[in-house]
Amino acid sequence: MAETATTAPQRAATRPRLRGGALLGTVPFFAFVTIFLVVPTLTVIIGAFTGDGGRGFTLENVRALGDDYILAAFGRSITLSASSAVIGAILGALLAYALVTGKPDGLLRRAVTAAAGVLAQFGGVTLAFAFLATIGLSGFVTQWLQEHGLDPYANGVWLFELPGLTLVYTYFQIPLMVIVFLPALDGIRPQWREAATSLGGSTWHYWTRVAGPLLAPAFLGSALLLFANAFSAYATAAALVSQGSPIVPLQIRGALTSEVVLGQANLGKAMALGMVIVVAVVMALYSLLQKRTAKWLG
């Protein structure tokens, strides 16, 4: 066999030598990033293991993460993130599929992807007010429903609790899913369906044996990204929820703004560290699945 698998293009043997002068060019960047990114990150990590007031190493803060109310907050955060990620991933994938079945360069597709780009970044206070205007107590939809004898809040106001937050988060999760999942769908080659068909496979066979397994890592990875996205979100919840601190970001706000309470400041750092760990684990899994996707559908 004369053929060989393609090898990476030959690298030129001579690499530019590392000179002090060349490194100088990157000093402003590294200096800035050190002060405003590395130092804060280390502050959180070190602070999580430091006793209040004192300088000694302690596991008190991390141990305090085991407190019932903090565990419950993490539980609620994870529930909220997971449910909004699952709903967002499924609906977003359906929308993305609806887009790829149309013309690849069509106006509809371009309009929807552009809108998704905006809405995926649409969070925070603006989003909270959008939903207050929609299904708040005097919102557009609420009033319309009430005029027709239906009261969405007959069993209590759920907008400011987890179900409400899930609904509001879905509003930026679906567009994000469209953006991250669309490239994977585009990577599906028409030849695969045709090959499967000519080999005797039905549509069912194609989806269960070819497209399904191929898209699974991309779907799972995208859902993880959505999870991290919801888990990190703060502003929308902060604007919507004024009483209590059901989720971790709001607990951290409490710890930050009530520094008078002894032993709270570094507990906040411990919770922050907890968040970073959750997000980092999720993002690591995401990039693992993303690599698999790039190999198959790149």
Partner: protein, 337 residues
């Protein structure tokens, strides 16, 4: 296993006002390999895809082994198909790719190993498509298509994404395997050399129609139309005058392919039909000569015309630039327009 006969009967395919296929009739004998050759957009791929069931014909019938399968869905047709590239399922290794059709048919998976052996890929069973070269991927695709013991093998430009050297090697191997298994085969390509080398018969297509369907030598030596003469091989376009069943070109009378009403025409003459000899009295002169191996090519001016001729490389020293030469045309039949 012996092949089945395939008939395409008055196939038509229109997109709006464009005829991708214009009443195409084509019969493939059992076990025969026919190459459809033509420029892009000539309808060759459309014909293949209609035979595969991946596209629907606007009108006409497809018969395989005497049965009308025009309405049969692609998944029920038993056609082995090899695409231009990237058709292997990337999440399955070579063996699993070949097993795909066997599993759907609940047949013995042992055949997958045998098929990979047939295409010369023993030992590569566990490689994934991205760990295989382009040529190896196409071998797997061929094994996958043949594993299901298809009634017809369809090859849609299977070599055009490969390097020149691999292309020739795999071309010969496809021919060997096809002869060995005896499956009726339709091979679509835009590469005339490939078509002539591999096929029992070559069908040259243009604008949805067959211009000529004949054995490779016939297509090359006796092109039926100026289009075929132009598309297959290279031709000199020389002025001539038709007189009855002959045409006079540069003072030589040549037999004519087909009939022509007479008068001034353009004749298409192959470079290898022209012999170049040094002649100090001639007004024709060598313009350039290029060395191509055992044979070489010289360009000669005759009056206002440039004539390309093929000569043995040994003659080159006598045919330097500016040398006066005489041209002789072999009395082979030519096509005129």
């Amino acid at each position: 296993m012996t092949g089945v006969a395939v008939h395409l009967d008055g196939l038509r395919r229109t997109f709006g006002t464009v005829h991708a296929l214009d009443d195409l009739d084509l019969s493939i004998a059992p076990g025969e390999l026919i190459a459809l050759l033509g420029p892009s957009g000539c309808g060759k791929t459309t014909a293949l895809r209609i035979l595969a069931g991946l596209e629907e014909a606007t009108a006409g019938r497809v018969l395989v082994g005497g049965k009308d399968i025009t309405a049969l869905p692609a998944s029920k047709r038993d056609m082995g198909m090899v695409f231009q590239a990237y058709s292997l399922f990337p999440h399955l290794n070579a063996r699993q790719n070949v097993e795909f059709g066997l599993r759907l048919r609940k047949r013995s998976l042992q055949r997958a190993v045998e098929m990979l052996e047939l295409v010369g890929l023993s030992g590569f069973e566990d490689r994934y498509p991205n760990q295989l070269s382009g040529g190896q991927q196409q071998r797997v695709a061929l094994a996958r298509a043949l594993a299901i013991e298809p009634q017809v093998l369809l090859l849609d430009e299977p070599l055009s994404a490969l390097d020149a050297k691999v292309r020739v090697q795999l071309r010969d191997e496809i021919r060997r395997i096809q002869t060995e298994v005896g499956t009726t085969t339709l091979f679509v390509t835009h590469d005339q050399e490939e078509a002539l080398a591999i096929a029992d018969r070559v069908g040259v297509m243009r604008s949805g129609r067959l211009e000529q369907l004949a054995a490779p030598a016939e297509v090359y030596l006796r092109p039926a139309t100026p289009f075929v003469a132009d598309f297959v091989g290279i031709s000199n376009r020389l002025p001539g005058t038709v007189d009855g069943e002959t045409v006079e070109v540069l003072g030589t009378r040549l037999p004519l392919v087909g009939a022509h009403s007479g008068g001034p025409v353009t004749a298409l003459v192959r470079p290898e039909a022209i012999t170049v000899t040094p002649d100090a009295d001639s007004t024709a002169k060598v313009v350039t000569s290029s060395f191509l191996g055992s044979l070489s090519r010289v360009t000669v001016t005759v009056g206002d015309h440039l004539v390309v001729a093929q000569v043995p490389s040994g003659d080159l020293p006598e045919l330097a630039q500016g040398a006066p030469v005489r041209l002789t045309i072999a009395p082979l039949a030519v096509v005129v327009e």
